[in-house]
């Protein structure tokens, strides 16, 4: 099994290095095909590992080599494939294989084709380290590694100012959270003496509650950054500047779910501190609603999907926070499939529309792009949670969890958000694929994407449809390591009312969206309508003014304080003091230079003055030595 483990882990790295070899040379197909093939290999290895685990073999645990060791600190490169990590591995390798193949077509005309695959495979490698590592330090390697790759890929089109800005924003925001994570790791180390999951979690129950709380808080801060939870969420929408396959892989399916993975992985810790769990769940519910509300009005196709991702991450955190770790993980998996599918479909549309992102400039594309239309519709249905697609099983489960755990406020919020989700998803579908063909105004002739791209997407389509049926197998598997709590609504009547009610509510939202946005005379927002001038709309379209506030109250002051520090503090105070001291000596020299007038008799006078000074010193010191005891007595009398 170790062989498969290493194959699964390192083949993306090999692929990345291989593509990097062609980094500076012009586009070669091989630089895309080989990494994709290697990822396929990685996927196969992961599948073998999954089968092995499903068939009852225990977790595979290897220790490759020592990384750091000093004093009592010992951190190895250790990898573990257990029920949790194998799930993540499957998701990561599957989605990334699909995305790689898809990207061969998508990036076809791009100059940086080779570079792109190098980065993308490097990302998969980092992600694999993240999920497979058996200790917090290894997790952190992957954590930062995916951050780096995310930076590289968001800023892939580095000539675009907005792209590089978004890349830096993403990296720095993640860094803020990483600090929290680092502190969390330090706390774990100094309290349990190790960073290995197993030993650390084993030692935790004996620790004090305060310590555990702080640990949980700091680790969760790390998770908040990667999973773009409020208030560190702004980078995710801006990250849509990257190529669409990147958005699909990194900013929907894998990297952003790392935070959820962390919480799930650290479930023994969070299990001990239910209060933090409640906090996580509340924040998750808040983000779910908050992000969905922003998605309602946005006019950027990719941003809408990004907000929907954010919203779904909120769902996952609700589940994780309420202790339903397996549910969180399950939703993570299902979400990865349909969200990646949605993004890839959006990529097809973008290609067809020459990188146009505004759905109001599209419409009626279902004729030109049938395949994409079907895929995106199914993905949206899955996202909305309509039976029997994947979203129904995972998302409704979260609602049930909230209900069963008696968190009715969270439940209500989530339910409402489910409606919003259905609305904005189908708003998008309706605007893009139905209604008038508004794109003709811009003289665009849309065309369907390459066939192999659609074929590459089909596994995702398949999974988005049937993922729900794995629920029980999956449950049996992961609950070997995760707490096995099933959530059943007590009375079956309530259950049916809830389920059907939810379904109806969601269906109503979908119909409403269709009705509103498939009209022939749909009004393109131009800032004149009453709704657009309402406060709520402005608030939402400006993302609650949070990016503006960050820019105005964080970035700007930081820049100003920095230059103030430089020009005023560093130069005018610190350095000026140093120069001032030097200057004083210089001035003293200048002034006393007159003493050396060259006039012998004046110099003789100075000489005598010097003699007098020295003699008086001699007298003073002599006297003080002679009368030392008396002086001490006198001084002590004065109270010195």
């Amino acid at each position: 099994m170790e062989l498969f483990l290493y194959t699964a882990l390192f083949s993306p790295l090999v692929g990345s290095l291989f593509a990097a070899l062609f980094g500076a040379s012009p586009k070669t197909k091989i630089a895309g095909i080989i990494p994709s093939a290697l990822l396929g290999l990685s996927f196969i290895s992961s599948s073998i590992l999954l089968v092995s685990i499903l068939s009852g073999n225990g977790a595979v645990h290897v220790e490759m080599m020592t990384w750091m060791s000093a004093g009592n600190l010992y951190i190895p490169f250790g990898f573990v494939v257990d029920q949790v990590s194998v799930t993540m591995m499957m998701v990561v390798t599957l989605v990334s294989t699909v995305v790689h193949v898809y990207a061969i077509g998508y990036m076809d005309h791009d100059k940086g084709f080779n570079r792109f695959f190098s980065y993308l495979s490097a990302f998969v490698f980092s992600m694999m380290i993240l999920v497979m590592s058996d200790n917090f330090a290894g997790l952190f390697i992957g954590w930062e590694g995916v951050g780096l790759c995310s930076w590289l890929l968001i800023g892939f089109w580095y000539h675009k100012e907005s792209a590089t800005w978004a890349a830096n924003e993403a990296f720095i925001m993640n860094r803020i959270a990483d600090l929290g994570m680092l502190i969390g790791i330090f706390l774990v180390y100094w309290n349990t003496g190790t960073l290995q999951y197993e030993q650390a979690f084993a030692a935790m129950p004996s620790l004090e509650n305060d310590v555990l709380t702080w640990m949980g808080v700091f680790l969760f801060i790390g998770a908040m950054g990667k999973s773009a939870q409020f208030p560190l969420h702004t980078w995710l929408a801006d990250a849509m500047e990257g190529p669409t396959p990147v958005s699909a892989l990194i900013h929907a399916a894998t990297m952003v779910t790392a935070g959820v993975y962390l919480v799930v992985r650290a479930h023994p810790l969070y299990h001990l501190i239910p209060n933090i769990g409640i906090f996580i769940a509340s924040l998750g519910a808040f983000v779910a609603l908050f992000a969905a509300s922003m998605a309602l009005v946005n006019r950027d196709m990719k941003r809408v999907i990004a907000y929907s991702t954010l919203s779904q991450l909120g769902y996952m955190f609700v589940a994780a926070g309420l202790g339903a770790y397996w549910v969180a993980l399950f939703h993570l998996m299902a979400h990865a499939f349909f969200k990646a599918l949605l993004f890839l479909g959006a990529g097809n549309v973008m290609h067809a529309m020459h990188d146009e992102l505004d759905p109001f400039k599209m419409g009626g594309l279902n004729k030109a792009m049938k395949g994409t239309f079907i895929m995106m519709t199914i993905a949206s249905v899955a996202l909305a949670g309509i039976y029997p697609l994947a979203g129904f099983f995972s998302k409704d489960l979260i609602l049930e969890v909230a209900f069963v755990e008696n968190h009715y406020i969270i439940y209500t919020v989530l339910l409402f958000t489910a409606g919003l989700t259905a609305f904005y998803s189908f708003r998008l579908v309706a605007l893009i694929f139905h209604g008038e063909e508004r794109y003709k105004l811009f003289g665009i002739h849309p065309h369907e994407a390459y066939k192999f791209m659609l074929i590459a997407m089909s596994p995702l389509l398949f999974l988005a449809v049937i993922a729900g049926s794995f629920k029980m197998t999956y449950f049996e598997m992961v609950t070997q390591v995760l707490p096995a709590s099933e959530y059943h609504v007590h009375s079956s009547l309530t259950f049916w009312i809830m389920t059907i009610g939810t379904q109806l509510f969601v269906a109503a939202a979908i119909l409403f969206a269709y009705k509103k946005y498939t009209r022939r005379d749909i009004k393109v927002p131009d800032g004149t309508s009453k709704m657009e001038n309402s406060f709520a709309y402005k608030l939402l379209i400006n993302q609650y003014y949070i990016p503006f506030a960050y820019q105005e109250y964080v970035v700007k002051p930081y820049r100003e304080v920095s230059s103030l520090f430089w020009t005023h503090v560093d130069q005018k105070i610190v350095d000026a003091t140093v120069d001032g001291i030097a200057h004083t000596f210089y001035k003293i020299g200048e002034e006393t230079r007159d003493m050396q007038s060259g006039n012998l008799s004046i110099m003789l006078k100075w000489m005598v003055a010097g003699t007098v000074a020295l003699l008086s010193l001699a007298v003073v010191f002599g006297l003080s030595v002679k009368y030392a005891t008396e002086i001490k007595l006198f001084l002590s009398g004065l109270g010195v």
């Binding site: 580095y158 590089t164 990296f171 860094r175 100094w190 004090e208 140093v578």
Partner: protein, 517 residues
């Protein structure tokens, strides 16, 4: 020969420098490379014969210089100094090998070789006077390098560098003399041997004053806030090779001296001053990072980033536990490699455009992709990405200090944020965007000579980031007894508690939210 390897390491470059005067001008470059390579090979040989399982000094040589006052020429190497010596040899070699067209190249190479002697001497000296002599001697070649090959403000910069550091050193010298006097008063013998000083258990008040005297000398060299202002000038005006050596090796003298002198000689004072120094270090980290963000000159950015990282090293040193000190020593190496490489990279672009202003660039990623890649790797290392060399040191330093104070470590950890901010911004300004200036359109990418220096550095950066064990093991072997020794030697109860080699805190009481006293 192997028993005299340290003396050979010290004096071989100096001898070669003297002989360099008779070498013909055209062949002096290859002569310099040859000498530096031999020196580097010697240092690698030293690593080979060095026994990593021993914690004490190895290859000790002792020759009496002034027996009346106990001044001896004593040199020795342990895990703490070994790698800095290798780093010094490595960088001198790379520096000479990558020298571009320079006026008066013969003098420069001779100066560099002489500088190498002083650097190696500082790290190997085990006698305070010998240490002091090398310490001061190192100023002279650097003064010459900045003053003779520097930019327009070179005279001001070099004089400032010299006088500032020299002033600090004099205070340190007073401390050393007083230390020797105390030793004489206690034992009746004169001695300047550091190892013999170690055995002296000083009263607390003496420790405080001596610590401060030494601190002034070391802190200016590091340079710690607020003694740092000479550094941006020195870096800004120095030629590339000068900046590289200054950042990679010379600054390490200060932090190395903290570990060699301050900690074992004055354990109680070290604990007493731990918080003030940590606060200074944190100011250093955050403040200089912000100043770096405000810079317009890429070299100044790297210079200030250097100061910022030195803050983490100081913090790790004053963690006073094995993890922290090992981390800080490793970070010295890491910072040497990374900031040296960054200065070399800045030199590359300066050679082409004769400007260091970031506004003059933009979009270089498409013009010079290889350059952008190497710069990117080094930048990410500087930012402290895992699996690069810097991360290991930074992680361990902060981890170590976390044991002493939670809140201060949290503040110091801001380093990873502010570091990313200035570095990414600078990178974005230089490499991203479209090419706006016509001069930049046809810049040649890095050439072979430059790659010769940069590729090994990139390899080291990643290699030691993935497999730091080769360094960490000998370092921690030497650090562990040092910490134990400090624990034994400490006289106050607080110091005994603070300096400990135990992994897990004994009392898992409250995790304080405020100050961690």
């Amino acid at each position: 020969m192997v028993e005299h390897i340290l003396s050979i390491l010290i004096f071989f470059p100096a001898l070669a420098a003297v002989l360099g005067f008779v070498v013909h001008k055209d062949s002096v470059r290859s002569y310099g490379v040859a000498v530096a390579t031999i020196e580097f090979m010697l240092s690698m040989w030293l690593w080979l014969v060095f026994d990593p399982t021993l914690s004490g000094m190895q290859f000790v040589e002792q020759i009496a210089l002034v027996p009346t006052f106990g001044i001896n020429y004593i040199v020795g190497v342990d895990g703490i100094s070994l790698f800095i010596v290798i780093l010094a040899a490595f960088f001198t070699m790379l520096g000479i090998a990558s020298l571009g067209e320079t006026k008066n190249i013969k003098n420069m190479i001779i100066t560099l070789l002489f500088l190498q002697m002083t650097m190696v001497g500082v790290f190997l000296a085990l006698d305070a006077i010998v240490f002091y002599v090398f310490w001061e001697l190192s100023l002279v070649p650097m003064l010459y390098l900045i003053g003779a090959w520097g930019g327009p403000l070179r005279i001001y910069a070099s004089v400032k560098f010299f006088l500032y550091t020299f002033t600090g050193s004099l205070v340190m010298l007073v401390g050393m003399l007083f230390m020797a006097y105390l030793y004489h008063r206690t034992t009746g013998n004169w001695s300047f041997s550091i190892l013999e000083w170690y055995r002296l258990q000083l009263p607390f008040e003496y420790q405080i004053w001596l610590f401060l005297a030494f601190f002034v000398g070391f802190a200016i060299k590091v340079p710690m806030f607020p003694f740092h202002t000479w550094l941006p000038y020195a870096h800004g005006q120095a030629p590339t090779i000068g900046s590289v050596i200054l950042a990679a090796i010379l600054l390490k003298m200060g932090t190395y001296a903290f570990i060699r002198f301050s900690l074992p000689l004055f354990p109680d004072a070290s604990v007493y001053f731990m918080y003030p120094i940590a606060v200074l270090a944190i100011i250093m980290i955050i403040y200089t990072a912000m100043v770096a963000y405000a810079q317009k000159d890429i070299k100044q950015v790297v210079a200030y980033s250097s100061v910022s990282h030195m803050g983490v090293i100081v913090l790790g040193t004053f963690a006073l536990n094995v993890e922290g000190i090992t981390g800080s020593i490793f970070l010295m190496i890491a910072h040497g490699v990374v900031s040296g490489a960054l200065f070399l990279l800045v030199g590359v672009i300066y050679d082409r455009r004769h400007t260091k202003l970031m506004s003059e660039f933009g979009g270089l990623a498409s013009v010079m992709p290889r350059y952008a890649t190497i710069f990117g790797i080094m930048m990410m290392a500087s930012v402290g990405l895992p699996l690069t060399i810097n991360f290991v040191g930074e992680f361990m330093s902060l981890l170590g200090f976390y044991k002493q104070s939670h809140i201060l470590t949290l503040l110091a950890g801001v380093a990873i944020i502010v570091g990313a901010i200035y570095m990414l911004t600078a990178y974005k300004k230089m490499f991203f965007g479209v090419v706006t200036k016509d001069e930049n359109r046809n810049l040649p990418d890095v050439n072979k000579t430059e790659l010769l220096a940069l590729i090994p550095l990139a390899i080291v950066t990643v290699w030691l980031g993935v497999y730091p064990k080769v360094l960490l093991e000998p370092i921690s072997t030497s650090v562990k007894p040092l910490v134990e020794f400090m624990h034994e030697k400490a006289i106050t109860a607080e110091a005994k508690a603070r300096i400990s080699t135990m992994a897990v805190k004994v009392d898992n009481t409250k995790i304080p939210t405020g100050e961690a006293h």
